[in-house]
């Protein structure tokens, strides 16, 4: 066991070394850590009472000032405060739907890669189907049918975005299973479950990690798009804030802070996830290591 641990530790420190060489990835990671820490600290450093419209202290849509560094919204609430609380919902939806999508994608991918014959064909047909369908349209239909709410949005995004992951994981599974030691293990009588969980899963895990990071990014964008098109989570999120700024005419009345603050937050965090994902990919995927430094 200690051998494995040493090997893992060595692998991890190699990973750290490699990742440090990815400059963009480091910036991304820094922004991410900052965003997550702020989101976690928000309940400790701010008073949620400021989110209650009946207790709002500011004037309606007032420009940034010392009291309200990002200005106020249509009810006189601090946009900064809303951005902080909104980050919790946006990140939650991002992480949860990415998790859901990754789970479905990994299970489908490994199964499609491991099994042969019609089982694999059926799984791939389903995957291809989800891959080709316009996922936003499908997510909107799902949200419309299931009604609003955070869990619905997570479900709608998760269920419609796993196909590309499944394809990727399947390919990786195929190449892992082609390795001789799997053959050996199979000859020794290892069952499907053993091979899939003990051999394939650990080997595809790095890829899953990189892909999850990117998936969170696209889920945050998807959340905002769904919110704009009317399927919102019911709590203040960045997408919901953008929708609010649109509904309350922030753009035509010149309240640029209300339009830009949540939008730029989305762009920054989504970029950060993307940079991290790309860096992880470059580090973990040996094929790319040579090419795209």
């Amino acid at each position: 066991m200690s051998v494995t641990r040493t090997r893992r530790r060595a692998a991890f420190s190699r990973f750290r070394r490699e990742y440090r060489r990815q400059r963009a990835g480091l910036y991304g990671a820094a922004i991410l850590v900052a965003a997550v820490v702020l989101a976690l600290l928000t309940p400790l450093i701010t008073d949620p009472a400021g989110m209650d419209v009946t207790k709002a202290t500011g004037a309606k849509m007032s420009p940034p000032s010392l009291d309200f560094p990002m200005g106020t919204d249509e009810s006189g609430r601090s946009v900064l405060l809303m951005v902080l609380w909104g980050s919790r919902v946006s990140l939650l939806i991002g992480f949860m739907s990415a998790l859901l999508s990754m789970t479905i994608g990994t299970v489908m991918g490994i199964a499609a890669g491991h099994f042969r014959g019609w089982a694999s064909a059926v799984l791939m047909r389903i995957t291809d189907w989800f891959l080709v369908l316009p996922s936003l349209v499908l997510a909107l239909v799902l949200a419309a049918i299931l009604g609003g709410g955070t869990s619905t949005i997570i479900l709608a995004i998760g269920v419609t975005s796993w196909a590309s992951t499944a394809r990727l994981i399947r390919a990786q599974t195929l190449s892992v299973e082609a390795r001789p030691y799997i053959e050996r293990s199979r000859a020794l009588g290892a069952g499907h479950w053993h091979i899939m969980t003990r051999h394939v899963l650990p080997n595809v895990a790095p890829l899953v990690l990189a892909n999850t990071t990117l998936q969170v990014a696209s889920a945050i964008v998807a959340e905002s798009t769904l919110a704009f098109l009317g399927a919102d989570s019911g709590s203040v999120s960045w997408g919901g804030m953008l929708r609010g700024s649109y509904d309350w005419g922030a753009a035509t009345s010149g309240a640029w802070w209300y339009v830009l603050a949540p939008g730029l937050c989305i762009v920054a965090v989504v970029m950060a996830f993307t940079l991290c994902g790309r860096a992880l990919e470059a580090v973990l995927n040996p094929r790319l290591r040579g090419a795209s430094r």
Partner: protein
């Protein structure tokens, strides 16, 4: 650029150039003969055009099917009616019917159709046209879609000669002179076949109103031309364009920029954003709408069986009263409507209708008073627990309630946020449920699956319909059908007053009864009116020189009853040489864009040859 890349770029450009002509075919625009095309580009100087921006697409051009405000407005401009509200008093005045009389039993109405009205194809308007229209609504199910309830009480409609129309009703009907059905030409519509499938979108459609529809492009625009043969005389403007916007922010920008001349039914934020523009008139008037809360005070079906899952505490008038005290109507009007609404110290009839409006005074008046609300609940035995949540006197159920609103309605969402804040202070936690329009109607009007729900009603000059929505008979059947109740209300006193006003043909006396009915609703609180939103509109005064609202004294421009505002419109004439709507510069830009696109393609191709030299590593 590589050969493959260049091939792709060239293919792209070819496709692009192929797609654009396809636009023309796909958009259904047949290429026109040269002369006509040229004539269309340059409108004759002196032509007066007004462009109206709307944020609602036309649902149908068929007046028997259309229910949206935009469509019924267009039908008001296209067709004539029996009567039309007087622009000053809003009381019925002659339109296609020049006079009328009722029999002594108030069941037979005889209308004289005017002789000087003509259809736009030159044929005279006769009583047969009107009779055919009403009979169609009465007998053809598909035709009931738009205005079915308006003929519910009709026994028969006959034309005894070309000028005389006789309508027999089952019961006396005070609202007979506000009939909303546009009269269509029998000679055209007889040949239609299935009314439910007829689109009525071929232009020009035959009508007898001030305007004729000249062109209709779905989800895009409706072009109307003045009807030169209109019996009152042609409108002052030559053309009225109705332009559709999905995005209200874009519509506002369009008005500021001058792409449109008038927008009606603005939301408060958009209205406020128009402030400070010297060329724009912000038209802010009292509205015809009342926004209120519907409280589930024990919903029952028409045979008095309980239905739904309303919170039992709401059956207690004390709780409803406490809730009433917790609502700060002024804050809602200020915050949700930017102060562009009248806080409701009354009930379901807005103050715009002075004749029928009832205002709470003295002891009746409920003001925002959290302490008083808490006091009422304490006295009635609803104890606050350690968590600040009240329970019913028997201690069995917490006063946790749901507030049902529609999805995608920012105003209702904001109201919910305020109510949640206030109700928390009186120990009633409120959770918001957003429902789509279908489900909302079902749960708040049929199945009673709600505690408190948002609601609203646009009241006609005659308030009969809104009063009727609180009658016992409007409650649904046990199987969830029929109905149309706005409150599941069933109160003997209210019923009695309703019957009285129905047959009271003396207007002031009837108004007094209607006020008593509103007082009953206010004090018993099955519904709590919140505010009456103002009607917010904007128009460009550098384009529109005069417009008469309805009613003339501070009334509505778009979406009101009657065609007066648009009939009376006058505008600045197009100067000679202008192509109207800045499409001259538009075309210039279009040309520029095309040049840029072609240029980019060319650049890519040239690039390919040059790249040999400057990209070698």
């Amino acid at each position: 650029m590589t050969r493959m890349g260049a091939r792709l770029a060239a293919l792209g450009l070819t496709l692009l150039l192929a797609i654009l002509p396809a636009t023309q075919a796909l958009a259904g625009k047949a290429p026109e003969p040269g002369t006509q095309a040229l004539a269309r580009q340059a409108p004759e100087p002196g032509k007066k055009t007004v462009r109206l921006g709307v944020t609602q697409a036309v649902d149908s051009m068929n007046p028997f099917l259309a229910v949206r405000i935009i469509s019924s407005s267009i039908h008001r401009w296209m067709y004539g009616f029996l009567t039309v509200p007087d622009p000053k008093t809003l009381q019925p005045s002659p339109d296609l019917a020049e006079s009328w009389e009722t029999s002594d039993d108030k069941l037979t109405w005889t209308f004289k159709i005017r002789a000087n009205a003509k259809w736009s194809d030159g044929k005279p308007v006769t009583a047969q046209d009107a009779a055919w229209t009403f009979n169609t609504v009465m007998t053809v199910d598909a035709a009931k879609q738009a205005n079915g309830p308006a003929v519910e009480n009709f026994e028969s409609v006959t034309a005894t000669d070309d000028r005389t129309l006789v309508i027999k009703t089952r019961k006396p009907q005070a609202s007979m002179l506000e009939n909303p059905i546009p009269i269509v030409p029998k000679h055209v519509w007889e040949a239609v076949g299935d009314i439910g499938k007829f689109e009525n979108d071929t232009s020009p459609a035959v009508g007898a109103g001030p305007f004729i529809v000249a062109e209709y492009k779905k989800d895009t625009y409706v072009k109307l031309k003045a009807n030169p043969g209109y019996w009152r005389g042609a409108p002052k403007i030559d053309e009225l364009h109705v332009l559709f916007y999905e995005n209200p922010e874009a519509a506002n920008a369009g008005l500021k920029k001058g792409e449109i001349d008038l927008i009606g039914r603005l939301a408060a934020p958009q209205f406020e954003a128009l402030a400070g523009d010297p060329n724009i008139v912000q038209w802010n008037t009292q509205g015809r709408r009342a926004v209120y809360l519907q409280l589930n005070h024990g919903a029952q079906t028409i045979d008095n069986k309980p239905v739904g899952d309303g919170h039992p505490a709401l059956k207690d008038p004390k709780v409803r009263q406490a809730i009433h005290y917790a609502i700060d109507k002024k804050a809602l009007a200020d915050q949700v409507q930017s102060g562009l609404a009248v806080p409701a110290d009354g009930s379901i009839v807005p103050p715009m209708y002075q004749e029928f409006f009832w205002k709470a005074e003295g002891d009746d008046l409920v003001t925002h008073d959290i302490a008083k609300a808490n006091e009422i609940l304490d006295e009635a035995g609803y104890k606050k627990g350690a968590d600040g949540v009240r329970t019913t006197p028997d201690g069995k159920r917490k006063l946790e309630m749901r507030f049902s609103i529609h999805t995608d309605t920012p105003v209702e969402d904001k109201i919910a946020q305020f109510l949640t804040g206030w109700f928390k202070e009186i120990g009633i936690p409120l959770s918001t449920r957003k429902l789509d329009a279908n489900k909302f109607t079902e749960e708040t009007g049929f199945t009673g699956l709600f505690d408190i729900a948002i609601s609203g009603w646009s009241v006609n000059p005659d308030p009969e319909e809104v009063l009727a929505t609180h009658l016992c008979s409007r409650r649904p059947t046990a199987s969830g059908e029929g109905g149309g109740t706005e409150s599941f209300y069933c109160d003997p006193e209210y019923e009695k007053l309703y019957q009285e006003q129905l047959s009271e043909l003396d207007r002031p006396k009837r108004a007094e009864i209607i006020k008593l009915m509103q007082k009953r609703l206010y004090t018993d609180a099955p519904v709590i009116a919140v505010y009456y939103p103002n009607n917010l509109e904007g128009y460009r005064k550098d384009r529109i020189t005069s417009i008469t609202p309805i009613p003339e004294d501070k009334g509505i421009l778009y979406g009101g009853s009657g065609y007066w505002p648009f009939y009376s419109l006058d505008a600045v004439a197009a100067p000679a040489g202008s192509t109207g709507g800045g499409s001259g510069t538009g075309l210039a830009v279009g040309v520029a864009v095309a040049v840029v696109l072609v240029g980019a393609g060319g650049f890519l191709l040239v690039r390919r040859r040059r790249s040999v030299a400057d990209e070698r590593e």
